[in-house]
Each structure stands twice: as structure tokens, then as C-alpha cells.
Symmetry: C2
Subunit: 188 residues, 2 copies
DNA sequence: ACTTGCATGTAACTTGTTACATGATTTA
DNA sequence: TAAATCATGTAACAAGTTACATGCAAGT
């Protein structure tokens, strides 16, 4: 059982879901493709952590809804008490910064601007999630609490990223902005 | 050529390094083990992106220093101009928050406290990096600039994470703090 | 005596991505 | 008419982790 499997198990524990549902819901926090999720769900059913039933739909394709079993819930509880592993981030931008000195102002600005767009999109997404739920802050113990602080986690992270982008864009001179003095110095 | 390979190539472009050096330097930004790095460096040498030479050492084991080739530099330049991919984060904590309602206050607090320690450690690390380099802010174009904003990236991210932890710890009631009224309500 | 750091590598395995495969309905 | 959404799955491949393997020097 890997971390993704536990995550899926936990989501099913909250509400019965199809693989497709789970994929969409988990995407913003853990980038997993359907080709990874479907086999995991099958294996978890074999291990008796999940049960499934087919739901016929008229307009859309039929779907397989998964629910958690008693055994699944026990395993889930154990996981929640086990040691928490450190987050893993792999960001191409970090690698590129090691050799940023190889690029011109324009290239560097383009890169950071692209990342800025990414964060703005994420902020939009998380804010729309917040807007589509009860106004009052949920209290600990309710299922809404976990979801609320999860959204806050994404939001605060994206805002920090945006701030960084703006700081950096402020530090890279726009081309054509170089002063006469600097040009003279760099031409030596 | 994967992202990690480009990252290593970029680091070698800055200064000649051994696989061991690269592993240590890249760790805080991209968690790669030596068992992944060594074969990548070998393959990049085969492709004529890197060249290597053995350095004998008396007190420590000998080491293989890699330098970038002309061809390597060209490939690196191309990469810097190509499309930047989105960052990928896999955080067990995010998955756990989906089913936080399964745990008690104590378990939840422990989890967040553990994460808080993680961020405090990272902040310490990045601040020590800042302290061990020239006081004045580097300007765009110098190799120090990229490294400076990379450290800032890690720092701002870790600070945002810490802030989130503190917000959440403030929202989870400490056990024994529950009011009489709440106890009566929850006992129904 | 034991562990940590330095230093390099391979083998077996797990995890994650891309591509293949199907097919109806809705929207542009 | 083309693309996107819904919906499930498999196969081949790439990326990343864990374990195995060696060995010396310095510190605890």
C-alpha cells in the first residue's frame, strides 16, 4: 500500500466514489492519472479494503462506485496514526535557477511570468472552492474542517509562490531599461 | 533526457563537480538519491554532454569530477528556452486531510506539529545559506542571482507552510480545553 | 566498538507517465 | 465536424527508491 492508495481509501471513506470522481478530486493535491488510479482501486478491492458496485447511467457511461469496508476503515485509522513523511516537490524551475546566468533578461522574465500565471490559476481555483461552500469556518471534527484547511494549504502556498514571482520580476531589469552608465560599464 | 539530468547539467555548468557534490547540492530542491544520479551522469558522459576526470585524494576516497562539454552547453541553452513544466508536489499530509475527521484532536495536533518542525528546519537551513554568502543582494546576470532567488523560493515556501501550521494548530482545540457545554452536546 | 561522512557503483523493485483502446453525449 | 466530458481499462516505458556492495578516516 503506497501513499496514493491510502489517499484514495480516505476519500472513499468520506463518500462512495468512482475512480473517475477520485481522479478529479485528488488532482489538485496529488497528480495521478486514471491509468494509475484504476489498477490501485482494483487491488484494494482484492485486499478487501474496498467494495464496488456498478451504477447504470443513461446519458453517460456506466460507472463503478467504490465504498470502504470495515477492514478498510481499520487500515485507514492505522495510517492516520503512523509517522507522517516529508512532502516531495519536484519543480523544474528550481533546477533552472541553478543556471539562470545562462539566459537573457527576456528569457528569465518569460519563465517567471509563466510560473506567475500558474499560481494565479491555482489561486482562482482554490478561491472558487471556498466560494462554493458554507460561509462559516468549520470546526474540528466535521469532515468539512479537513477539506477547509486543505484548501487553505493550497491557497497559502500558491500565494507565497505568486509573491516570489512578483519579487523576482521586480529584480530582473526589463530590456531597454538599462541606463547609459550600465551600458558603458558592461561594454568594457 | 529528463528534468533531473538537465538540472545536473546546469549545476556542472556552474562548476566542475562530483556526483556526490551534486547529490548534496540538489537535495533541498529535488530529492534524488545517489543511485539515481550516478547512472545519469554516466549516460550524459556517453552522450558527450559531460566529461570526467578522476581526482586522487589522500584522506578521502578518490572522486570523479564532471565538467560540461561544448555540446552540453548547447543542449543546456536549448532547455532554458523550452517550455517550463508545472511543479509536482506529493504531500502525504494533503491526502491525510481528506479524512482528518477520523482522528482525535491529539493525533491531528501531532501531525501538524511534525510538519511544523519540518518547516522550521528548512527555514533554518535556508537562512544559514543566506548568512554564508555576500550581504549585498546580487544583480541579474551574476551566477549568484539565480542561487539567491532559489534560496528565497525555498524560504518563502517554508514560511508559508509554517504559517499554515500555526493557523491550523490555533484551530484544533487542545484536549481538556473542551467546555462543559460541548461535552454535554457530544455525549448525546 | 560504533557511527557518520566521503565516495562510487549495481540490481531489484515500486511508482508514475504515455500511449493504446473503446464509445456515447454534449458543446463549440 | 471537431473537440471535450464522462467512463474504464491495459501495456510499455521512464523515473525514483531500497537494498546490496565496498572501504577508509575521523569522531563519539
Amino acid at each position: 500500500m503506497n501513499l496514493l492508495s491510502y489517499g484514495l481509501l480516505g476519500m472513499v471513506a468520506r463518500e462512495e466514489s468512482s475512480g473517475y470522481d477520485l481522479m478529479l478530486k485528488i488532482q489538485p493535491y496529488w497528480q495521478a492519472k486514471h491509468s494509475q488510479i484504476y489498477p490501485l482501486l482494483s487491488r484494494m478491492e482484492e485486499k478487501n479494503l474496498l467494495s464496488s458496485r456498478w451504477i447504470q447511467q443513461s446519458d453517460k457511461p456506466d460507472k463503478k462506485m467504490y465504498g470502504i469496508t470495515e477492514h478498510g476503515r481499520e487500515i485507514l485509522q492505522e495510517w492516520m496514526l503512523s509517522h507522517l513523511s516529508a512532502p516531495v516537490t519536484r519543480d523544474e524551475l528550481s533546477l533552472r535557477l541553478f543556471c539562470l546566468w545562462l539566459t537573457e533578461e527576456e528569457g528569465a522574465r518569460r519563465m517567471v511570468a509563466e510560473r506567475k500565471r500558474h499560481f494565479l490559476e491555482r489561486i482562482d481555483y482554490f478561491e472558487s472552492l471556498l466560494a462554493s461552500r458554507p460561509q462559516h469556518t468549520p470546526t474540528f471534527g466535521s469532515p468539512e474542517f479537513g477539506e477547509f484547511i486543505l484548501i487553505q494549504k493550497g491557497l497559502m502556498n500558491a500565494r507565497a509562490g505568486l509573491e516570489w514571482c512578483q519579487m523576482v520580476l521586480g529584480m530582473i531589469p526589463r530590456e531597454g531599461t538599462t541606463s547609459l552608465q550600465e551600458k558603458l560599464v558592461s561594454s568594457i
